[in-house]
Point group: C2
Chain length 219, copies 2
DNA sequence: CTCCTTTTGTTGAAAATTCAACATATTTTA
DNA sequence: TAAAATATGTTGAATTTTCAACAAAAGGAG
């Protein structure tokens, strides 16, 4: 477990918990590490929402797939971030989303009951853990607000521009990479891929952006 | 404060806290009650995200208004529910949304620092409060998942049908009222109002639904 | 009850999206 | 390196949405 300590220390779930306590805690929480190759399913829709996931390496996507096979990308999880926590905390019985590995990924799975209900050892940091979980959920809610602000725009162009501006802002630079290829960006923005390609081309010709693959510059 | 006890007991924030403790707690939290007439602003976008709101009576809407004046209804809050908690908990400095009274409403405002940081009296229920807040935020996240599942559909018809099915499901009946007039429903589904009216008319003529104003029956 | 305001429904034209099909470019792998 | 697979760009037709303008219906105030 030692090898994961550095990344776990960056996980918001373990904020303000010192190294020694963290190690003891991990035993107590009974987390286990599982690896997934690219495109493999971490959690399938409909599965029991029993585990909270912490991404140790790689990246995973939270997606919904509708009746017709249309994919909707809800969010992208990066190393150190937590996922599926909302379903575990709200004690829903089955997952309404699928989690798939976007690249080879290592995931730590923790039985949510070990987090939500204080263990018999009563390690003093359980309260901090709950507090951290609350903070994490609050920031997830804000993340969804931002996503909705983008996708509620009515045209592909407006969605794209507000997505790129948001990314630029959070990168703190006019030049940045996005975590999506074209189809994925379309599935995140809730638009048609070919229409998205057209719009990117237009913005480039109008001198509003420069881009190459998933690298963008706002001019 | 006594007159609000019944509704506060139903608030998820005070789950598993007995009456006596609740009363003591309210003093400790320093909540104050404010009334708003219909259409009045409870919190304006850009305001400091200092307070957590508990709706005591009436109903409020969480909305975003873009540059062009287009309204987007993110959610509707009913009596007993909490709002603006995510922004306070995540300690963002200014609100990215507006909260307006949808009907005459009474709101209890609690300074979030009183909730997040244990008070000097150290009332024993602070931990339960944090735990409840975490649960509440988890269910808000799930609510947004559901909203996105609806609004990610590409046509007005599909959005409307999946919204109505969701409402029917949560009402546990094929017959139910929705909390929106036509314009509000359009702003929630992220579609054009007149196009929505057309679609409702079609579904009615096709014998798929019956409706009168905001009352719907799925056949 | 009547007038006034608000809400809902209707229409047609303009704009945008979706869809399918294919061309081109890039990446992977054998 | 060449072939195969995947990703991106392009096009035109069909569908759908948006927009503006107005008609009809419902609700509220005096």
């Amino acid at each position: 477990m030692k090898k994961y300590l550095e990344i776990l220390k960056k996980c918001p779930l373990f904020d303000k918990i010192d190294d020694e306590s963290l190690v003891r805690m991990l035993t107590c929480l009974g987390g286990r590490v599982v690896s997934f190759d690219k495109k493999y399913t971490v959690f399938a829709e409909g599965a029991r929402a029993k585990y909270i996931g912490i991404l140790l390496s790689g990246s995973v996507q939270i997606i919904q797939v509708d009746y017709y096979g249309n994919r909707n990308i809800l969010s992208v999880i990066r190393a150190g971030e937590v996922f599926a926590e909302a379903f575990a905390c709200a004690e829903v019985d089955s997952l309404p989303v699928t989690v798939i590995a976007d690249e080879p990924s290592e995931v730590m799975l923790i039985d949510s009951s070990h987090i939500l209900h204080t263990c018999s050892n009563n390690c003093g940091f359980h309260q901090q853990l709950i507090y951290n979980l609350m903070k994490d959920l609050a920031s997830k809610t804000i993340m969804f607000h931002q996503r909705i602000e983008i996708t509620s725009k009515r045209t592909t162009r407006e969605k794209l521009l507000s997505y790129l501006n948001m990314q630029s802002k959070s990168a703190g630079a006019r030049e940045f990479d996005i975590p999506f290829d074209r189809q994925e960006l379309a599935d995140y923005l809730e638009v048609d891929r070919s229409g998205l390609s057209v719009e990117i081309g237009k913005l480039r010709r109008e001198g509003i952006i420069e881009n190459r693959k998933n690298h963008f510059v706002i001019l």
